[in-house]
Symmetry: D2
Subunit: 409 residues, 4 copies
Amino acid sequence: MDDGSGEGAMSTNNGVRSAGTERVWAALDSFKIEVPSWGFANTGTRFGKFMQPAAASTIAQKFADAAEVNRLTGAVPTVALHVLWDLPKGLGSVDEIKGLEAKHGIKSGSINPNLFQEQEYKYGSICNPNPEVRAKALAHLIESVEIGKALGSKDVSMWVSDGSNYPGTQSMRRRVEWMEEILGKTHAALGDEQRMLVEYKPFEPAFYHTDIADWGMALELARRAGPKAKVLVDTGHHYQGTNIEQIVAWLLHLNALGGFHFNDRKYADDDLTLGSIDPYQVFRIFHEMLSAKKDETAGVAFMIDQSHNMKGKMEAMVQTVVAAQEMYAKAALVDQEMLAGLQDECRLVEAEECFRSAFWTDVRPLVREWRTARGLPADPLDSLRTGRYLESITREREAANAGAGSSYA
Amino acid sequence: MDDGSGEGAMSTNNGVRSAGTERVWAALDSFKIEVPSWGFANTGTRFGKFMQPAAASTIAQKFADAAEVNRLTGAVPTVALHVLWDLPKGLGSVDEIKGLEAKHGIKSGSINPNLFQEQEYKYGSICNPNPEVRAKALAHLIESVEIGKALGSKDVSMWVSDGSNYPGTQSMRRRVEWMEEILGKTHAALGDEQRMLVEYKPFEPAFYHTDIADWGMALELARRAGPKAKVLVDTGHHYQGTNIEQIVAWLLHLNALGGFHFNDRKYADDDLTLGSIDPYQVFRIFHEMLSAKKDETAGVAFMIDQSHNMKGKMEAMVQTVVAAQEMYAKAALVDQEMLAGLQDECRLVEAEECFRSAFWTDVRPLVREWRTARGLPADPLDSLRTGRYLESITREREAANAGAGSSYA
Amino acid sequence: MDDGSGEGAMSTNNGVRSAGTERVWAALDSFKIEVPSWGFANTGTRFGKFMQPAAASTIAQKFADAAEVNRLTGAVPTVALHVLWDLPKGLGSVDEIKGLEAKHGIKSGSINPNLFQEQEYKYGSICNPNPEVRAKALAHLIESVEIGKALGSKDVSMWVSDGSNYPGTQSMRRRVEWMEEILGKTHAALGDEQRMLVEYKPFEPAFYHTDIADWGMALELARRAGPKAKVLVDTGHHYQGTNIEQIVAWLLHLNALGGFHFNDRKYADDDLTLGSIDPYQVFRIFHEMLSAKKDETAGVAFMIDQSHNMKGKMEAMVQTVVAAQEMYAKAALVDQEMLAGLQDECRLVEAEECFRSAFWTDVRPLVREWRTARGLPADPLDSLRTGRYLESITREREAANAGAGSSYA
Amino acid sequence: MDDGSGEGAMSTNNGVRSAGTERVWAALDSFKIEVPSWGFANTGTRFGKFMQPAAASTIAQKFADAAEVNRLTGAVPTVALHVLWDLPKGLGSVDEIKGLEAKHGIKSGSINPNLFQEQEYKYGSICNPNPEVRAKALAHLIESVEIGKALGSKDVSMWVSDGSNYPGTQSMRRRVEWMEEILGKTHAALGDEQRMLVEYKPFEPAFYHTDIADWGMALELARRAGPKAKVLVDTGHHYQGTNIEQIVAWLLHLNALGGFHFNDRKYADDDLTLGSIDPYQVFRIFHEMLSAKKDETAGVAFMIDQSHNMKGKMEAMVQTVVAAQEMYAKAALVDQEMLAGLQDECRLVEAEECFRSAFWTDVRPLVREWRTARGLPADPLDSLRTGRYLESITREREAANAGAGSSYA
């Protein structure tokens, strides 16, 4: 409940909707989240992949899956694309993507260049001491920008996996300068409506130093690149104990938050489903978004970045979107005005109870009501299970997905 | 909801109670948690103390405060005692304590020796290379056991803060042997009904090595000491990322869990209020308790070990007990049978939804109903605020509590 | 220097060897470390593999590489085998291995079953709720034991990667019982000279709970299995901040340490080269070994478990063995008697200086001298670079190793 | 050795000094490090203080102690002052300080305001929602600036301990704005030669959020305040696993590094002596300093911030300065040119060996030689022990230092 009283009642059925309920409906109406194309494909750990019969392997299949998630939840208008995997012909693949957009009624979302997979990138891509490799990486970035333009996509999401594994083996300093140069050139290529989102990650696949290791580094690089560059916060990419919502608050304050990659983790960067380990943290992050000024949060992109190697692909993705909607609804229940007053007076326990009363409120009936009113399935996971889509793609794809998945030996 | 359907409805008002509701009431009826006497006194960090006017400084005041928490929540039949602070005359203070028990209707709980405060313990107490210091520590432990006997208290809670700050400065190996000897002698002094609870802590106040650093060490020492020795799990005393509920599961399996010290933390050992940072973890720990066999959990003591230097002492303690009751009620909602079935079939998403559906259910209305039925205040925090107790102790104690609290300069 | 004086001089050239020098030579003569066959093969992260032209792909190549490391360092009499990768025909591959032993003059070391790679193990191997999968896993373990017998190998190294990714999806408790049963049956199959080493790991590839997560769990399982089961400490498998040398001290005290898997890490389990991130920790671990009683350390196996996806395979392995020898030599320099005296008197700074004076001593000239006296190359890394082996295997293998290494898309 | 050959020999006695030796002497001649006045006083943990008979309690004693450390090491020209403890009369204490400077031949170093000790700061100082408290904090900051001017001290070191313990209890966002305002006003008061150093710390004494939690926040605040504000890196104030030397590299690149507070830690912020837990990290940090451009490192202040509650105060401080000199000497041995070449060619193992060969070189004989040539005691710790200073202050101060040290009960 949003009155801090610990009542927990949600007055949705007494004729007049409460202010909290109004906020929840407005929040749900506005809530959109992007799914990643690679979230529907088989992935694994360094110890191997477990192959799922219904996993998608073509971009057509990934579009279809994403569209089904959108049909079930009403919150997924876009799908993130991975250049190397989804547009194997680069710009030459754009027409195929446009066809899929038209067919499925969802659009291309962020464009994700790949700077980690090719053998040349062993010692880095845009930070590689070899200028030829850096040139190759820049060319790929520029092509990614052009793909974004051709698709009318807004964001190029930059994850630079560069780094080093051992002290002394690379000059962290000189690599900063190389990055600055290439990000600047990439920024220069952006169209008027495009943005560059700079992601940070403290480790993996680099284990001693990662060239863009934290939000401070990402922010500096984004600023140096230009005004269309913003910071991308991946919730799994932080040290243990980091207060992520505080980083969000700072980035909003600095007008530098571009978007989120959502997932959860317990130890390292485990790409678990959103809120599966620490749901209270998700609530707190959404609270920072909802308590900020409108102009600060305009344009902040919500994106899922998860790889479900144990859960069913479709099941996990629907579950994630539903969880995100519910957490967002909870955060919308916080009575901002009352909370601010209690904070001002340092009435700590009352402020905390006001805050987490919203978290404790069971929003599921309310979200179900909203779904029904919007013509959506009341229970998306149940609809997925009882519907025909899953069965049908399992049948169609299982032959292609048979075969061992180990990547180790 | 306990049916995994995501409904979230709690049928408490339709004439027939659901199975989930029955479990919640039974859980609440059985739920008891001990409060620490030192939770009502002024404490701080190494940078200083912030003095609260209503803080307790005498054992009489601490008993009174604990009794008030019990009056408000119905769940606090005992108060943990700290030998050095609460029984300054050792056995000679027992009569005073018995008088307070009679006066306030609550009993003495665990007896907590103090092996860290005196100057002799600079290099350790029961692990000190100096045999005279070890003898002094042993004598204090024996006296603590005798105090427990005299008070009819069941548990002696052993927190051994010994350790070292720098590699090479002490022999970790020899110190193990000294511990074993003294814990064995202490165990030998225990009465038939007494237990010794061995606590572990990875660091603080020792910063390089702590002699009892993890549950494995505590378990070995408990076993070596004897059958009345069990392990005490302080939820704040773990490395970042540790799966505490798994340790609980193992200790239950080994019939070696003696009890809990509850608190929460974000980084180090911060003694924050239970569930304030990671409420889902508390739920998972309670789930392990509730899903274990009855004989494994018999005798497991729930104790709060918190120091609230920012929140009001009474307010924080009532809030903590209420939070514990609510989490326990949520854990009681889990449909164990359904869950086990889904786990057996590795239906991961369904099992997870079944599990966390209980967490998402808003149990506050149900707990309020239970409180009223049991003749307890429906809203303990509200009763504390509107009642006279807090005002009265503030007035009585504030003169004594004035004065600076810094401990640093 | 071992006299605590901070002199730093190593009197190796003044006619009479110092006591420290004697200890170093004795330590180097006794120091043996096993290399893993998989350390010579191409590996990677979940984001892809970088292929090395000289990487080994057959067991014959791995034996040849290990033998070359032994030729250069004189410290590698055995190579660890991975059943699935190195003995694809199981017992049927034993003759081939014996032929390689004879050809290369090194022996088979620990036998490593594989419980993580096959699709059946998606939800666990020996902890899988499905009894058929557990039976398959047991059969593989028994075959691994038989392979060990046939090869005259002493240790079966058990890494059980089982676990779960999400709270509530599996019963941690029941899985313990399944493990106990299978480990007991495996132990029963061991020959008189065989041992079972139980490894622990807090996470990866399982991300919420790993069934054998810490040394306490490994120890309980080893004891339950039987007297030939011991604990295997992988230095990379601990939470941040864990005092690994203390765990070593405890396992030695309990006569339960079976061996080590050496590697280093900065964040997670990164399999970096030994001592590359925290060399002082390696020194402290070796110090615990060297300061323990002889019967406690008898039979403790030193094994490398590293995957070098950036450094050259051969180069990294030689570098690792050399680093291990140097650290061991440093630890041998500690004057145990003087140190114990200072520890007893709690002369902290002097004890610390006595201890780390050994660490600060540059043992490289001394180790070089020892190498020459033993007929080994004075500088193994230099010999590797200037010798023909590396060039020759690069030429022979590069065709087979060409091709992309990504495992993600 | 600086030639990457693994020789380890330091040619100091063959008539011609090696280039490495030249660099070491130059480095030692330029190396200066500030000691904190509070490092000589009794301190403790939240569980109590262990009182040392020789601990300083007056500023006169602290100056004397610092001067003795300087006499022994030749590297400590300044002592950091803590306004509240060392200048109890604020500006009125300046004359006394000037007298001590003249008497002891060392100068006042950084001025450290105190924003954490007084009861008003319970809910924060410059971030307190109460404008009166913020005004009080600002006044203290301005006075600290004036003290700095009066003493001719360069730096005001700002540690803002503000934060909150529980989610929802304070608005992180609004507190940023309050900080910006006050830091701006403080900056405006700075004299031409003065600087403001903004320190960051992820936790303690605030446990949920600290208002200046990381280098990114400190940098933003410093920039907003003005050009005389720089970032202060306390080596103990980072999350587990953070690559501190990379942050140093970035701050140097951004011309924003003001100085260091040196200490070491294993888990949290433990204020252990420099390099006592991870000496290789200190070496890497110094390497970043020594490999940067001269104008980037000009003005970067080296300061010790340690509280030795176990080691003897004087002993620990001398030990720390000696350790710092030795680590700096090791870092000076790195052959920058050779290293850069190997890094450029991605010859990883060779680059690493070149780098850590300097770390493995035993510089103690060389540093001893330098000390003697500069008229300093060859072995400062030994001189401290055998000299009269320690004995004399112990005798003079022990009566005042008797008495219990607990701060808890």
